[in-house]
Amino acid sequence: MEAELNRFAEEAAEKIAQCRTPNDILNARAQFLGKKSMLNGLFARLRELPAEQRPAFGQLINTARGKLESLLASREQEIKSAAWEAQAAVDFDSSMPGYSWQRGSFHPVSIIRRQIEDVFLGMGFEIAEGPEIEDEFHNFDALNTPDDHPSRNLADTFYLESGKLLRTQTSTVQIRVMESFKPPIRIISPGRCYRNDKPDPSHSPVFQQVEALVVDRGISMSDLQDTLQNFARAMFGPQVKSRIRPHFFPFTEPSAEMDISCVNCSGAGCRVCKNSGWLEMGGAGMVDPAVFKMVGIDPEIYTGFAFGLGIERIAMLKYDIPDMRILFENDIRMLAQFKGESL
């Protein structure tokens, strides 16, 4: 009888494996486990066995039944899954375009501006803004610009009928902040600036600058180096080097020009850096004591550094944009290229 049971179980397992449809499963279940199944028949024949063998054989039958039940269940699941996949696969082409919320894009100058803001916010700077329509005091006098300095000319600076002017750099915000707040001061001021330059590949009458100013006890050129280095690495990558070299500005002393190693050739020399290996980033220096006196900060107690960067220039460098005028065309074929640039 045991041999009979084993044979039956083997056969049933084979049949179950051959089931193809839910209906097959239904039939197989009736055939192998139903009332008239052979398994049930074996139960009825238990009596034929000696009493002491009955429990053990009964258990065998139950084990076999359990096995068949789980085989049926798993085969049924397989059939269902296959059917579900087959149904979906009929006319499915996963390469067709998705239905997305078509995202717009930030202007590349905005992207760079916000990236710069992020870098400085991370370094503990605050963002300060000021008016673009300025007076001569904040734009020139307070910044230690001589009365006869050529930058004050109509050919360089836009003037308004009201007697005011359009700021030529965001350093005006330095003055406004130092007038209103006591050190320690640690700010950047991004924003639009204006110079009477005809638009050409590297000039625009309207452009954006970001100015950094740190005033505290014990601030030295070493802090300037530090900040500049951190900024250059955050913006252009960890391999980028920075340097400062002597220059002249009326509002800083010592004054410096800031360079970073060429992001195109890593300093080897190429067309972007005109074979110098270095790219000019902007002006910098230690705040001139005359500027401090103008805003009522004691230069004996406090020292500070400031520097200014052109945002368009950084955007052009970073994205390899050859002509500044492209930035003001607002061609969405250009703008769309920056969808993937995060702020």
């Binding site: 067709m96 375009p97 239905y99 997305s100 919320w101 078509q102 995202r103 717009g104 894009s105 930030f106 202007h107 100058v109 905005s110 916000r114 503990g124 605050e126 963002i127 300060a128 803004e129 008016p131 673009e132 329509i133 109509l154 050919a155 836009f158 003037y159 308004l160 009928e161 009201s162 005011k164 359009l166 902040v177 707040f181 320690p184 001061i185 640690r186 700010i187 639009r192 204006y194 009477n196 005809k198 009458p205 309207v206 505290d216 930035l327 003001f328 065309e329 607002n330 061609d331 969405i332 074929r333 703008l335 769309a336 702020l343």
Partner: protein
């Protein structure tokens, strides 16, 4: 750890109130987790003797007592339910009129018997959680006395958390020392005086440490003639208030001294200790590792199976204690105890921690030893306990202290550079102040010398620091052995910073005030939102062309800044509208074949009559919504798409519920335009650009068969209005909402806004929302009418809405609409 203010005040004068003490503890680095004030008891609560106690008939647990309060008056009849109530005992009686917390004692009848007061448990007096029975006071307690004096009430119990680096704070003395150092208060800690022992040959001990690594010091003191009894009330009170149960005078004294000094002690019954051999002259104490599977029956009644990692205090035969963790039952103090071995030892913290952890038994002793107790303190602690045993248990001290201390801890000295202090804590501290603080903590200033990082053990090793030698000047301090945590210069600096108060550490950079973070956030949110829903950000010069302004119907002369030296005539004005250049940008892109465009610019405007340069945003939209998808044929963007864009932004800025109505603009459609007002100022506007205007900018809308939508946002106003907004959580509704739909026909000229307000107005509280889910105009509906379908969302915050209330509410809505709008239900 639980400490009583009154007990603490024995070591340091505490004149401040509880809040100030809390403050002082907190800033000295002792975190206060809970404060429990035990108020003074009313004068009606007095000591009393139970003269007689008889079981009350018909009651299983009530006793009828006659109680004497010692004032010569007649004994009072009191019914008491406590099981330990018996004749002769002295207890505490609350007389009628006494107020105990929320309970006022009154004369009452219990089971028909009069009762004039209540005999009290400790819990009823608020001094502990014990409520097993009424208080039993010593027999000789004077009667009729206020209980406040006996229990030192009022008192305040502080539950404090001692950080693991400060084992010296695990006793009252340590906390007092710290407070005295921080607050510059006198400290009353008495050094126990030596107690001479009596020589006796009859009693002795064989002491040996097998594992000096695990037990650097073991002292044992033999005491005879112990009179085991209850502890005096002051001692019991002290233990109870510190969260311990009094047991008997010997055990109580070891606990008391542990709480006082932080150093745990243990007492063995001398007569239960065995020798190593049957004929040994004296019993033994052997500090050894447990044998593998050695059985140990502990005081907590559990049997532990030990292993070679455990350290035990054994006699000649068996483990008598799991070192530093728990004593054994076999050698425990009992009523029969006459002679005692008082253990005061030091154990390696790791060993105690491991045993405590492995066997899951944590005790006041293991808690302290785990955190490292100095071997140097063992003898002093033993002496203090001995003193009390002599005083309170009539003990006779036998011989000298047995003191196994193979490698005494060498006193150590730490160098401290003055310059280093200011470098670390940010301000200068005067040398005198440094010495005073550290002196108050028990550190001894040795001398000045050359700085070195390594500890020194002898003052003679300190090198001179003269100008010629290359060295840094430092002050050398000898550390009291109890302060096992003071090993490095920084450890001393931490003490100084702590005692002087962290609040004195100056703020180097004052908090930010320059940046307008809110404006920055709003600006970014607006830009991010618009780019997220598909806009391309443009950037244009800050100038307006006067001619273009005129095309829009704006007077270029009015309210504008004029440039003296513009580069060209079309850049002669500072911008007062972003629209003209955006239209130029749109035309430029249309000319390149783009049909679906969403352009925006976020920039300042420069109106001459304002002293700010307000940030504005203008956006143009034309073409299809999510154009050209193979599965979803596009449709032209309509008014409600644009409206939704603004609604979404206002939600993002948390400015919903804004008033909306059309606002005439010379370049927008008169009908298809809408403005949002907050505080009666227009903050946003949308509308269809007039085709004639578009035409003037070279955009032929009729040829394109497209509408051109304009969005204008006053970002400056949005920023100012949303400043200082505060979001508060509204608890979630606990009852389900229900919805009811309503369809009706109504005249076209009646706006949805009007209907919405009417419906909401029926019951602002219960009608939580009204949604519109269908509009129909056409054949089924007469000319001039439209069919609307509303969904009312109804919710009561207090209870589930019944059908009756729902129906009544819906009826009111229908009635209101019928009266006000002449609706006809469908």
């Amino acid at each position: 750890m639980i400490i009583s203010r009154n007990w603490l005040a024995k070591y340091v004068p505490l004149e401040m109130d509880d809040d100030a003490l809390n403050q002082a503890l907190t800033f000295s680095g002792i975190e206060v987790e809970a404060i429990d004030h035990i108020p003074a008891l009313p004068p009606e609560v007095v000591t009393a003797r139970i003269i007689s106690a008889e079981k009350l008939e018909d009651s299983e647990h009530l006793t009828l007592c006659m109680v004497d309060i010692g004032d010569g008056s007649e004994p009072r009849q009191v019914v008491c339910g406590a099981p330990n109530c018996s004749a002769g005992m002295v207890s505490v009686l609350a007389l009628p009129g006494a107020v105990l917390g929320e309970l006022t004692i009154k004369s009452a009848r219990l089971r028909g018997v009069e009762s004039h007061g209540m005999l009290c448990s400790e819990r009823e007096l608020g001094i502990s959680e014990d409520h097993a029975g009424i208080i039993r006071l010593p027999e000789d307690t004077p009667l009729g006395k206020s209980v406040n004096e006996l229990y030192e009430l009022p008192d305040t119990i502080f539950e404090v958390e001692i950080t693991p680096n400060r084992p010296d704070l695990l006793g009252y003395e340590g906390i007092a020392r710290d407070l005295s150092a921080a607050l510059n208060l006198p400290l009353y800690i008495k050094e126990p005086q030596p107690v001479p022992g009596v020589d006796s040959d009859a009693i002795g001990l064989s002491l040996s440490i097998v594992e000096p690594q695990l037990c650097p010091r073991y002292t044992a003191r033999l005491l005879a003639d112990i009179k085991l009894a209850d502890s005096p009330l002051w001692l019991k009170t002290a233990l109870i208030k510190s969260g311990m149960r009094p047991i008997n005078n010997v055990v109580d004294i070891t606990n008391y001294v542990m709480l006082e000094t932080g150093h745990p002690l243990h007492a063995f019954d001398y007569d239960l200790l065995q020798g190593e051999t049957e004929d040994a002259a004296h019993p033994s104490i052997i500090v050894r590792r447990a044998k593998d599977k050695e059985k140990f029956m502990a005081l907590d009644g559990n049997e532990y199976e030990l292993d070679g990692q455990d350290l035990v205090i054994a006699d000649g035969k068996n483990a008598g204690a799991l070192a530093g963790v728990i004593g054994g039952k076999q050698t425990a103090i009992s009523d029969a105890t006459k002679r005692v071995v008082l253990e005061s030892a030091a154990f390696q913290p790791q060993t105690v921690r491991r045993s405590s952890y492995n066997h899951k038994v944590s005790t006041d002793s293991s808690y302290r030893f785990e955190r490292h107790q100095s071997p140097e303190m063992a003898a002093r602690t033993s002496l203090r306990a001995t003193q009390l045993l002599v005083e309170l248990a009539g003990a006779m001290v036998i011989g000298d202290l047995y003191d196994a201390y193979p490698q005494p801890v060498q006193r150590w000295m730490v160098a401290l550079r003055k310059s280093r202090i200011s470098l670390l804590i940010g301000y200068e501290m005067a040398e005198a102040k440094v010495k005073e603080y550290l002196g108050n903590l028990g550190l001894e200033y040795v001398k000045d010398g050359a700085w070195q990082e390594e500890l020194l053990h002898d003052a003679s090793e300190i090198k001179e620091c003269d100008i010629s030698s290359k060295c840094e000047a430092a002050m050398w301090f000898a550390i009291p052995p109890k302060r096992v945590d003071l090993l490095r210069e920084v450890d001393l600096i931490e003490e100084l910073a702590r005692l002087d108060g962290y609040h004195k550490v100056p703020v180097k950079t004052p908090p930010s005030i320059i940046m307008d973070k809110h404006a920055y956030r709003i600006r970014n949110q607006v830009l991010d939102y618009l780019v997220g829903i598909g806009f391309y950000e443009t950037l244009n010069y800050s100038f307006n062309d006067p001619a273009q302004l005129q095309l829009l119907g704006i007077d270029p002369q009015e309210n504008t800044h004029k440039l003296i030296n513009p580069q060209s005539g079309n850049q002669a004005l500072m911008r007062i509208s972003l629209l003209p250049q955006l239209l130029d940008n749109l035309r430029y892109n249309l000319n390149h074949g783009e049909r679906n465009l969403k352009l925006m610019e976020l920039a300042r405007l420069y109106p001459a009559d304002q002293n700010v340069e307000p940030l504005h945003c203008t956006a143009l939209v034309t073409g299809q919504l999510r154009a050209g998808h193979w599965q979803n044929p596009g449709r032209q963007i309509n008014f409600f798409d644009i409206k939704g864009m603004v609604t979404g932004l206002l939600e993002l800025l948390d400015l919903p519920g804004t008033k909306m109505e059309p606002l005439a603009k010379s370049w927008l459609s008169q009908t298809r335009n809408l403005a949002w007002f907050i505080e009666d100022k227009p903050v946003a506007q949308i509308g269809a650009l007039q085709p004639a205007i578009a035409d003037k900018f070279g955009i032929d809308l009729s040829q394109l068969r497209q509408e051109l939508w304009v969005i204008e946002l006053d970002v400056h106003l949005l920023t100012e209005i949303s400043r200082n907004r505060k979001r508060t959580f509204v608890p979630l509704p606990r009852f389900p909402s229900v919805s009811r739909d309503l369809s009706f026909v109504v005249a076209n000229h009646i706006s949805w806004e009007h209907i919405y307000r009417l419906v909401k107005g029926v019951d602002e509280y219960l009608i939580s929302n009204v949604e519109i889910f269908d509009e129909y105009r056409g054949k089924q509906v007469p000319e001039g009418l439209r069919s609307l379908s509303l969904r009312l969302i109804l919710q009561d915050k207090e209870k589930t809405l019944t059908d009756n209330r729902i129906d009544a509410l819906v009826d009111s809505v229908i009635k209101e609409l019928a009266e006000e709008c002449k609706i006809q239900l469908r």
